[in-house]
């Protein structure tokens, strides 16, 4: 029999009496996963920085602001629900990527650039 139950601040015990819930019913797994893209400054593109949980797109933006821009990392945020991202199949990587490996002529490395041209 459990005689002493210690709770901290906002951890109000619910149906489990404060015991840890199984991972599958935790509130964060009820919220969908979002991918976060941050633009660090004007003129640069948005870059993927990580993911987070949020109930909807507005909350995802605010969560991204709090989680990923606390140290002035960005000036613009994109979020997209992770389920909308289609990934390439890793098992198909042989036919997808390897044929490009011996086509060095596709790299623009055979041109001499004048010194005056910066940022290439």
């Amino acid at each position: 029999m459990q005689l002493i139950r210690k709770f901290y601040y906002g951890d109000i015990p619910e149906e489990t009496g404060g015991a840890a819930k199984p991972a599958s019913t935790s509130s964060s797994s009820d919220w969908p996963l979002w991918e976060v893209f941050i633009r660090s400054k004007q003129g640069l593109e948005h870059k993927h920085v990580g993911s987070l949980h949020a109930a909807d797109a507005n909350m995802a933006i605010e969560n991204a602001r709090d989680v990923y821009t606390r140290r002035s990392e960005g000036i613009s945020i994109w979020v997209v629900e992770s389920k909308h991202i289609k990934t390439s199949n890793p098992e198909a990587s042989a036919e997808l990527y390897e044929p490009a490996q011996d086509k060095i002529y596709r790299h623009p490395t055979f041109y001499d650039l004048p010194d005056e041209i910066k940022h290439m």
Binding site: Y8, Y9, G10, I12, H53, A54, M59, E62, N63, V67
Partner: protein
């Protein structure tokens, strides 16, 4: 305007932000989800940053080698001037959100007024802090809508929280002597505060607020607090009092 009124008012601003910051900080590591744990502690850091600015200014006004740490850690309960709302316990998430909403909306009105006030230091702190406060208003408003217009349970919890905290809001708009001396227009603030809250409550499907219908607690602005503050200060001040002058 007397210097002691300005000191008292600056301490009121400092104590309110420090005490609410300390309360919110109790959520650190205990937030409902990781992302919101970070959000509430970000707000905490904003509040404590504001408190530092106010304490530094108060220390300068007081002189005699007074420091911000001296003011934060070496004054007792009866010397703290924070609004009672700020010291109320966290309760559940709804209560924390309700408290933050009431206070952030109040800060927005107050700092807007300080921005145009006669004291240039307070105006500068207010200008910097307003950007933070606007975000706090936005963040807590979203939660009021989520909880109020969410499930039956979240709606009920928020109603309980609002009932619980409402009697501590009236004090914010009753001018203490030092606010009267500095010509702070608390009545004007209460009108715009109430208008903004009414709009928010309507959007969140909550009954409209009314400042006149309830008994309001007072005393925080002059050092008469609820029993909660002593415990909070004991935890917050313990290290400095046990090891005076210790540093990280």
């Amino acid at each position: 305007m007397t210097n002691s009124s300005l000191v008292d008012f600056t301490l009121y601003l400092a104590d309110s932000t420090l005490v609410l910051g300390q309360r919110n900080g109790e959520w650190c590591g205990h937030g409902p989800v990781l992302e919101q744990d970070i959000a509430i502690t970000n707000i905490t850091l904003d509040l404590i940053g504001q408190a530092r600015s106010f304490y530094q200014y108060a220390a300068k006004l007081i002189g005699n080698d007074c420091t911000e740490d001296r003011l934060a850690y070496w004054r007792n309960e009866r010397e703290f001037k924070n609004g009672l709302l700020c010291e109320r316990p966290n309760g559940d998430w709804a209560q924390t959100i309700a408290r933050q909403t009431f206070f952030s909306f109040y800060q927005r009105e107050l700092f807007t007024q300080l921005l145009n006030g006669s004291d240039s230091t307070l105006a500068a702190i207010a200008e910097k802090s307003l950007k933070e406060v606007r975000y706090h208003c936005r963040w807590s408003s979203e939660w009021i809508c989520r909880l109020g217009d969410g499930t039956d349970e979240s709606h009920q919890r928020l109603l309980n929280a609002l009932d619980n905290l409402w009697p501590y809001t009236g004090e914010l708009f009753i001018a203490a002597q030092y606010e009267k001396d500095l010509k702070i227009d608390t009545a004007g603030m209460s009108i715009s505060w109430m208008t903004a809250l009414s709009d928010l409550f309507a959007e969140a499907t909550l009954p409209p607020p009314s400042l006149t219908s309830t008994f309001m607690h007072t005393g925080g602005k002059t050092g008469q607090h609820t029993e909660s503050l002593g415990y909070l200060l004991a935890e917050m001040q313990y290290v400095q009092r046990s090891y005076p002058g210790c540093e990280w």
